[in-house]
């Protein structure tokens, strides 16, 4: 029994502690401090190779940090814990206070204090205007204020005025919007996904049909990749405009898309995808993240059959777009797998959009397609395609070369249209080049809510900082000799900053409205 009571006391105290405003603010600070190392340490989600490199270079220290999730801070247990506690604390702290706020938003101006000269701002004067008229004139002057006229026991008339109620409203809106935003962000974390895919810009298609359509895919916590929004893209052309210095000026992906009914009746709609202008389609967004070159080669086998392939090569120099890659061909018409494995052909090497040569060594001087050329090695033998283990599309398996099962049979520089001939009569022709685009498909069902809440936060914040809640009182007391003593007092309910000016203005115009005291 006592144990139960102790437990409930403990729970109550914990709840109180957790939901005090100070705790919420401390948690908020903690969140900020916890976020900070992420700006200084490489993060896996942003840059995996640099993270791996960092860990490797820092030995046990790197590993320790890794174990403590310092390279995945924003998905780490401790970051999420702070986030969750902040949320609970905010709910507990804000809800009761907001009831109070809402009440004060509707409140009438309070009674005029007995002694107005104790107020931070006050003025006293004498006038020949009688109390009723003083109050009437003051009431007319205080347009826009919420006012309340009262009569006191000694015959004084008072007017209490208050304005700046919107401040409370702004405050309410701000804090609730912040709560809403935290929820929206969490929902986003559960239901978002992001997939990347390379598409060659020669009319190739991509369909958002499942995780397998992507080269890489990062699902939210509640996404398994089976239920993606269906749409298809056809990438026709990728144009890049360059400045003279080789800096890219603008990228344009000329594509077509279809979704919904279009998928059934085969309608394609055109779209020009640019940086800063993603394609927005059935709740998903498509971005262009990068680009590069995809050379095309045709191999003519001794029996006369031809095979043509176009494949993306990876960029090895971002400035000149010198690229490197591999194409792999199976000889046609050979059914015996042992024999086939002696005649497979790989083309590897470098591609330069604007060729320059150092002797015969190819490199590139400009990223634009001005004088494309390739420097290729042609290899023949076993490519290891049947071994079942995945291979990089950009490389051949070096182990097969080392073991002598794959042999170099030619090395040559080719420009577009040129071909080389192997000793068995096989011809390899460099046909030309297409561009590829690195596309990202993103899905975040709650991001529009994040936007709505952030705008509400901004407006609420603006209101609560711009509007000042302030009070203004006038007391008109008959002085007994036919005159009226007028006392005016003012109090800024929130921060004092800036009320003095306005108070003085209001008070002085009020006094100019009253008749001056006649000399007796």
């Amino acid at each position: 029994m006592t144990r139960l009571r102790r437990l409930s006391a403990f729970l109550r105290n914990t709840w109180r502690g957790l939901t005090s405003m100070r705790t919420a603010l401390i948690l908020l600070f903690l969140l900020a401090i916890a976020a900070l190392p992420g700006a200084l340490l490489p993060q896996r989600s942003l840059n995996p190779p640099r993270t791996a490199d960092y860990i490797a270079r820092h030995g046990w220290w790197g590993e320790l940090l890794d174990r403590l999730q310092f390279f995945d801070i924003y998905a780490s247990v401790w970051f999420s814990a702070i986030y969750l506690m902040l949320f609970i604390s905010l709910v507990g702290c804000l809800l009761p206070r907001m009831v109070e706020y809402a009440r004060s938003f509707r409140a009438r101006p309070v009674l005029t204090p007995r002694n107005l000269s104790r107020m931070p701002h006050h003025v006293t004067g004498e006038t020949a205007t009688d109390p009723d008229e003083v109050v009437a004139k003051a009431g007319a002057r205080l347009k826009g204020w919420r006012t309340e006229v009262r009569e006191e026991a000694d015959g004084s008339r008072t007017i209490s005025a208050e304005r700046g109620y919107l401040r409370e409203l702004g405050n309410l809106v701000f804090h609730f919007a912040m709560l809403g935003m935290i929820v929206a962000l969490a929902v986003g974390k559960l239901y978002n996904y992001e997939g990347q895919v390379i598409v060659v810009a020669n009319g190739s298609q991509f369909c958002n049909s499942g995780t397998a359509s992507f080269d890489s895919f990062r699902p939210g916590l509640r996404v398994d990749g089976t239920d993606l929004n269906p749409f298809c893209l056809r990438v026709n052309e990728l144009d890049v405009d360059y400045l003279d210095n080789g800096q890219a000026d603008q990228f344009t992906v000329k594509m077509e898309h279809q979704a919904g009914e279009d998928l059934d009746n085969g309608t394609w709609r055109p779209y020009d995808l640019r940086v800063n202008h993603p394609l927005r389609i059935v709740g998903d967004r498509v971005y262009l993240l990068g680009h590069g070159y995809a050379p095309t080669f045709t191999v003519t086998f001794p029996n006369g059959e031809q095979r043509t392939q176009t494949l993306q090569w990876r960029t090895v120099d971002d400035l000149t777009l010198l690229s490197q890659g591999a194409l792999k061909f199976d000889p046609p018409g050979i059914t015996d797998s042992a024999e086939r494995r002696q005649k497979q052909i790989a083309i590897t090497g470098l591609f330069a959009p604007t060729a320059i040569y150092d002797g015969t060594l190819l490199s590139s001087s400009h990223p634009e397609l001005r004088d494309p050329a390739v420097a290729v090695d042609v290899l023949r033998g076993d490519l290891g395609l049947e071994s079942g283990s995945g291979q990089s599309i950009f490389d051949i398996d070096q182990a097969l070369v080392d073991s002598g099962r794959l042999n170099r049979v030619a090395r040559e520089n080719l420009t577009v249209g040129e071909e080389l001939t192997l000793d068995d009569g096989t011809r390899v022709r460099f046909d030309g080049v297409d561009r590829w685009g690195y596309l990202q498909v993103s899905h975040d069902p709650s991001q529009v809510w994040v936007l709505v809440f952030s705008i509400a936060m901004f407006l609420g914040l603006g209101l609560s900082l711009v509007v000042k809640r302030r009070r203004f009182w006038v007391r008109a007391t008959p002085s007994g000799d036919g005159f009226t003593v007028v006392t005016v007092g003012g109090l800024a309910r929130t921060d004092q900053a800036g009320y003095g000016e306005e108070f003085s203005r209001t008070a002085s115009t009020l006094f100019t409205l009253l008749s001056p005291r006649r000399s007796p």
Binding site: F29, A39, L40, P120, H122, Q247, N276, Y287, L461, Q496
Partner: protein, 323 residues
């Protein structure tokens, strides 16, 4: 789009001239500061308006009427007035430099760190000129112009970038909106950053006259410093918030997500939270005053850290540093 070399050269000259003139203005303020004996007591303001009664402010607090200086200006005061004139001249050249850059490159002149720093400092100085009209704080000019001159100098040497077009990610009207909000708010926030530090000095001095013995008596009263810092902050903070929101909107269109904990985003968030802490501390009993001022100074330090350290040392998606 080609860059107009002639105009960009003129822009560089204006920048250099503005920096130099700020140095002279700084010296002027420093002279005034050094030769003023004590802070003027704020005098009783007389309400303007026919036959208005005298308004006394019993808490010795704000006297907002324009307070006229006594007859016969001291030499110190003349140095101060010259400094203000020089500041205004500096602003004109500074503005000229920014506009010429914009015309030379045919784009908003804040596409790299150099330009960003230049525009931010311009806002800081303009903010200071406005503030001087509202408050009697001219003698504090040296404390505002010193960081400005240092940052201008660093900007013109370490960060200097040739006028050039910007890369595709920056070609967006969000560049104009987001970055100008960041510029205006961080420029203005320099002022509360400085005044919170001065406030801390003043409070220490008030508690123990031997601390900041030379500086203390020349500072305006603590209340004025505090109010100045607060009012500038609540003006700049919503702009800062707006800037972050615009940044997120732009990032959604340019980078594929509205928030990705890019280093720059992260530190902007941290600064925002610290400013929020400042606002709350001002509304919390026991935290007003010194603690609030410390928080405000820390917040500005985070803003500066974001501008320099993050841009120059940590590489992220924000591509200013490379130019």
């Amino acid at each position: 789009m080609p860059v107009n070399e002639t105009l960009s050269t003129y822009s560089d000259w204006c920048y250099g001239a503005a920096t130099l003139i700020y140095v002279f203005a700084m010296i002027g303020y420093a002279i005034e500061q050094a030769f003023t004996r004590t802070a003027k007591k704020s005098e009783v303001a007389v309400l303007v308006g026919a036959g208005g009664p005298e308004v006394d402010t019993p808490d010795g607090g704000p006297a907002y009427g324009r307070v006229e200086a006594g007859a016969g200006r001291s030499r110190a005061e003349r140095a101060g007035r010259v400094a203000v004139a020089l500041t205004a001249l500096g602003v004109a050249l500074h503005l000229g430099s920014l506009v010429l850059r914009g015309v030379a490159t045919q784009r908003a002149p804040w596409g790299n760190m150099y330009e960003y720093g230049m525009a931010t400092m311009l806002v800081a100085v303009i903010g200071w000129l406005v503030l001087m009209r509202k408050f009697d704080v001219r003698r504090m000019g040296v404390f505002v112009l010193t960081p400005v001159v240092i940052l201008m100098f660093l900007g013109g040497t370490v960060l200097y970038t040739e006028a050039a077009p910007v890369q595709p990610a920056l070609q967006s009207y969000w560049l104009v909106v987001h970055v100008s909000a960041a510029i205006i708010s961080s420029g203005l926030l320099l002022i509360p950053g400085v005044f919170s530090l001065l406030y801390l000095a003043k409070v220490r001095h008030d508690a123990d006259q031997s601390r900041f013995a030379r500086l203390g008596p020349k500072l305006p009263d603590a209340d004025t410093l505090d109010r100045l810092a607060y009012r500038t902050t609540i003006f700049a903070f919503p702009i800062y918030t707006f800037g972050i929101i615009c940044g997120a909107i732009w990032a959604e269109a340019a980078w594929g997500r509205f928030w990705g904990w890019d280093p720059k985003e992260t530190v902007a968030f941290v600064a925002w939270v610290v400013y929020a802490g400042y606002l709350h501390s001002r509304a919390t009993a026991g935290w007003r005053g010194s603690r609030a001022a410390v928080i405000n100074s820390v917040a500005f330090a985070v803003v500066v850290f974001n501008l320099f350290f993050i841009n120059l040392v940590v590489s992220g998606l924000h591509s200013y540093a490379g130019g």
